[in-house]
């Protein structure tokens, strides 16, 4: 077992142990925090597939996070009012069923990632960063000016959606769902990285010309990665909306994209458990520093700056040592 595997296992167990302890000690707030960590980490796992593996610095992943959130909000609000989404040509009703909502969230965020990626991947470098940012902003303003689903005020859902056999209103049971999905996301990311596709994508990041020489098309590899990445982040968005029982345009804002990226850098880019460590650190900092000072963002900023300037490997890098250099 390498030091990184050891660190990862410890992190996975800690994220499980803390809410279990909180459950025993009857501390629902801590369970909710752990759920938030798991969900935000899943969003980070999604971005990590594009950014860590594919080298695609997307500053617009809030687009997919928000689409997932709105998939939940729209379906659940229709179920809440018993108003069908459409009646013609097909009767589509709202739903409160999580698995259905997840599927819709994944499908729509994947579709959006396909469209956005197909256009954005024509550019590269700083232009790619900016065009993804622009698409995120487009959706942000669209959500703000779309009065049917709350516009600027967002949408509240009074009861959390349901999952067969579970009581999702019980914090620990909802945590179990989020944790299971995070594990599935991590498993997918690990499998992808080790697969022939992942290796080709990694190669396309480091030496696109050579990848082309052997007959593969970097554009297609990157687009596939971008779609998978968007879908995972969309799923996290649906869960996040369910956690808060609320969606608003702020899920689409570029600060959200920035924060998801902060999880990666804080935890360690391109490291499997980077987003988990990063999201956990972020939430803990928010709680601890937020308790100390109203202006905790100053300290967060200073810390982030220190990590970027002096500890490029992030938390996982600090715990598990530098990665073997590939490039």
């Amino acid at each position: 077992m390498t030091r990184e595997t050891l660190t990862n296992t410890a992190l996975a167990l800690a994220l499980l142990a803390v809410p279990l302890w909180a459950w025993a000690a009857d501390e629902p707030f801590i369970i909710t925090m752990a759920t938030k960590v798991a969900i935000l980490a899943l969003a980070g796992v999604g971005l990590n597939i594009a950014l860590g593996l594919g080298g695609l610095v997307s500053l617009g992943h809030a687009a997919f996070f928000g689409i997932g959130g709105y998939a939940m909000g729209i379906l659940a609000s229709h179920a809440q009012t018993y108003a069908p989404l459409t009646e013609w040509p097909l009767l589509i009703e709202g739903t409160k069923s999580m698995p259905v909502i997840w599927l819709v969230a994944v499908a729509f965020s994947a579709l959006a990632a396909l469209l956005i990626g197909a256009l954005s991947l024509r550019t590269s470098g700083v232009y790619f960063i900016m065009i993804t940012l622009a698409f995120g902003q487009m959706l942000y303003y669209f959500a703000i000016s779309w009065p049917a689903y709350g516009g600027e005020d967002g949408l509240s859902i009074y009861l959390r959606n349901s999952f067969p056999g579970l009581n999702t209103l019980d914090p620990i049971q909802f945590f179990a769902l989020a944790y299971a999905l995070l594990c599935a996301g991590l498993w997918l990311a690990a499998r992808l990285a080790a697969s022939p596709f992942g290796l080709a994508l990694n190669a396309a990041r480091q030496a696109p010309a050579r990848v082309e020489t052997v007959g593969m098309v970097p554009y297609r590899l990157r687009l596939t990665a971008f779609v998978i990445s968007g879908a995972v982040t969309g799923l996290a968005g649906a869960l996040f909306a369910d956690l808060n029982r609320f969606v608003s345009p702020s899920m689409f804002s570029w600060q959200t994209s920035g924060e998801i990226m902060v999880f990666l850098i804080l935890g360690g880019t391109a490291r499997l458990f980077g987003p988990v460590a990063g999201a956990a650190a972020f939430i803990i900092l928010e709680q601890v520093l937020g308790g100390l000072s109203e202006y905790w963002h100053v300290y967060l900023g200073l810390l982030l700056l220190a990590v970027v300037l002096y500890a490029p490997g992030g938390l996982i890098g600090a715990l598990a040592g530098r990665e073997r250099r590939h490039d």
């Binding site: 024509r122 900023g301 700056l305």
Partner: protein, 306 residues
């Protein structure tokens, strides 16, 4: 839709565009010369506005306030360049994005700390307030006309600075080959500090000038930053001319879209639906414009071919 309203909107668009140019010029200069993405540029815009509001509050002089905005933003820019940005030139874009994102957090919360959360107000000075009558009987606020004029004068000055002066030659040389001009004895790190402070000063001035028509508050820099990025990406990163064309294009698209799109939809929709659809689409219009430009020309209108 009357002609007068249309002309007013075009002037508004021009004014918005010119102010965007002041903000975008620094961003594109810093990217062109140093290859650095600076997300904290909007914070420098905010610092300019706050410095101006504070000085105007204390002295009552708008000119002093404008000077203070330039000085404060340039000083903040120089300090940030020396303390942080300098270490990021050799890093990849991801590190630059994150470090400057961190700077936004620090600047925004720091400003909230100093000035509190409630917005400040910076008034248009009395000698610049009130409308003027333009040919054709159009009444237009004098202050906005002055903004257009000031912006265009600064744009012209910047072109002269870059194309005619020794500093401009060095800036352009730094863009082309930084090792070579360092070898020729130019103090490149001082040059970078100067360019960064110059960009910051322009953003700070824009913040003060715009601050008189909006409220001055924490977070006011971020929307402007995003727009400035849209501008330089449309224009082609590193090109001052591109920034000017892009800024005016974005300014006009944004202002005219808000007026014309609902009108357009009214041709084949009922009134309420047309207003809703038209204004929803109008808020997205500049991002659509940017996407279209990048799809057609992946390096922007005046960008160098990749």
């Amino acid at each position: 839709m009357t002609t007068i309203l249309l002309i007013e909107q075009i002037l508004n668009g021009l004014q918005f565009g010119v102010m965007l140019f002041l903000t975008a010029a620094g961003l594109t200069l810093v990217f062109g010369v140093m290859g650095l993405i600076n997300l904290a540029h909007g914070s420098l815009f905010m610092i300019g506005a706050f410095a101006a509001a504070a000085v105007a509050g204390a002295t009552g002089s708008f000119l002093l306030a404008s000077a203070a905005s330039i000085a404060a933003a340039a000083a903040a820019g120089a300090v940030v360049e020396i303390a942080v940005i300098r270490r990021l030139y050799g890093r990849d874009h991801l590190d630059q994005v994150l470090a400057t994102f961190a700077l936004i957090l620090i600047f925004s919360e720091g400003t909230r700390w100093l000035f509190g959360s409630s917005p400040l107000f910076l008034d248009v000075p009395s000698w610049l307030s009130g409308p003027v009558t333009l040919p054709g009987g159009i009444l237009y606020p004098l202050y906005r006309l002055v903004l257009i004029a000031v912006g265009l004068v600064i744009a012209a000055g910047l072109f002269l600075l870059i194309s005619r002066t020794r500093l401009g030659v060095r800036i352009r040389a730094g863009e082309a080959d930084r090792e070579m001009i360092a070898a020729l004895g130019v103090d490149i790190s001082k040059l970078y500090t100067v360019v960064f402070a110059l960009g910051a000063a322009l953003a700070g001035l824009a913040g003060a000038l715009v601050g008189a028509i909006q409220s001055v508050q924490v977070g006011m820099g971020e929307p402007v930053l995003i727009l400035a990025f849209v501008v330089i990406v449309i224009g082609g990163i590193g090109s001052i001319k591109g920034a000017l064309v892009g800024a005016i294009l974005v300014g006009l698209t944004d202002t005219l879209g808000g007026v014309l799109l609902p009108e357009l939809f009214r041709l084949f929709m009922d009134n309420a639906a047309a207003t809703a659809t038209g204004s929803a689409l109008a808020t997205m219009l500049i991002y659509i414009l940017m996407a279209v430009v990048l799809i057609l020309r992946p390096t922007g209108l005046y960008g160098e071919r990749a």
